[in-house]
């Protein structure tokens, strides 16, 4: 098996789309033929099982693996429609009291022996939960929204990642609204990448389908119908695999007269 990749998906701020990205990337990577494990490192507020629609099939958790109550493969929950994907569920919140970075390292090492990709869904914040997840990772994807508080918190996280031998650190800008950006009522992709000085892995467009897919517990990348966000997730997964495809251009689909006018208004005059 070729070199296995352990990737932390983190953001600092909560609610920017870490878990949704983890679920969709996990499905997309598995779908393209790579064995993939997603590890829910958010022991306090676990949700990854819910987004993947696997909440009713959990028997053991990461905690049972650490306590030697079960073998790793007993705790892994295989996705029915995408058997290349397995979830290792988070234990209960009391684990936070005793869990150490080495425990997390042990789990991720076990996973990376068996899977090509290990995606670690990191808890929000920069406290112990984050540091545990960080210790277990080699690469990182920082998720942020084009919004002040999210970018500020992402900057904090990047500062910590930079001191921890994590490489590469790549950026995903989530919940992009092309019209607001064109009207200059939202930080642009260039603003965010240059402020954080990170390479851009991809963007994800704002899309109501994300909420609908969460309701159903079926990640967008699972469906054959491709919504805007779903195309973005696929693009991110291709780029993560190292395929030479460009980042999705938020303004590409827009060529109406109104959009031309908006473009004219963005012309720099001095």
């Amino acid at each position: 098996m070729k070199s296995n990749r352990t990737i932390l998906i983190c953001s600092g701020k909560g609610g920017v789309g870490k878990t949704t990205l983890t679920a969709n990337l996990g499905i997309a990577l598995a779908n393209s033929g790579s064995s993939t494990a997603v590890l829910d490192a958010d022991f306090g507020l676990r949700n990854l099982d819910l987004l993947l629609g696997l909440e009713n099939r959990i028997i053991y958790t990461a905690q049972d693996v650490l306590d030697n109550n079960c073998r790793l493969d007993q705790a892994l929950v295989r996705h029915k429609q995408e058997p290349n994907l397995a979830l290792l569920p988070a234990g209960d919140p009391r684990m936070l009291d005793w869990m150490k970075p080495d425990d997390m390292k042990k789990i991720s090492n076990l996973l990376s022996e068996k899977f090509e990709y290990v995606l670690i869904d990191c808890p929000a914040g920069v406290e112990d939960g984050f540091k545990n997840a960080l210790a277990a990772s080699r690469e990182a994807i920082v998720v942020t929204n084009p919004e002040l508080s999210a970018v500020r918190d992402a900057d904090r996280v990047v500062g910590i990642l930079n001191t921890c031998d994590i490489d590469p650190i790549q950026l995903v800008v989530n919940r992009v609204r092309p019209t607001m950006m064109a009207n200059q009522e939202m930080l642009s992709i260039e603003d965010v990448t240059s402020i954080l000085s990170l390479p851009l892995l991809g963007i994800v467009l704002e899309d109501q389908q994300v909420i609908i897919s969460t309701n159903r517990g079926e990640p967008l990348t699972l469906s054959s119908k491709k919504s805007p966000a779903s195309k973005c997730y696929l693009n991110v997964s291709q780029r993560l695999r190292g395929e030479d495809v460009p980042v999705i251009d938020p303004n590409k689909a827009k060529k109406s007269l109104k959009d031309k006018f908006i473009k004219l208004m963005q012309t720099k005059i001095f």
Partner: protein, 105 residues
């Protein structure tokens, strides 16, 4: 300034909020990043004194004009010390500024 900004200005409307966001963000991050390097004013003062002591062994410094500060650009914070020299120990008078840069992450 973009065409939109100009029209907004002429009409007395507020400028697009993305500019405000960018400026506020850059300001707050400059603060955050210096905090991260955990150099308090006390520490900076102490460091400044020690740097001066070392330099003063070799050259005579104009103590009134000394400036030591932290400057942040992108992901790098630089320690910038401006130490005007009055004369070298050997007695020659020189009017030259020595600039010392010490990069910290």
């Amino acid at each position: 300034m973009t065409l939109r900004d100009l029209i907004n200005k002429l009409l007395g409307r507020e400028t697009a909020s993305a500019n405000t966001a960018r400026e506020r963000l850059q300001l707050v991050l400059a603060h955050d990043r210096v905090d991260m390097s955990s150099l308090s004013t006390d520490l900076l003062d102490k460091m400044r004194k020690e740097i001066l002591d070392v330099v003063a062994k070799y050259v005579e410094i104009d103590f009134d004009e000394v400036a030591v500060s932290l400057e942040t650009e992108d992901r790098m914070t630089a320690l910038v010390a401006n130490l005007p020299i009055k004369r070298t120990i050997s007695g020659e008078i020189q009017f030259k500024n020595i600039e010392k840069k010490n990069k910290t992450k």
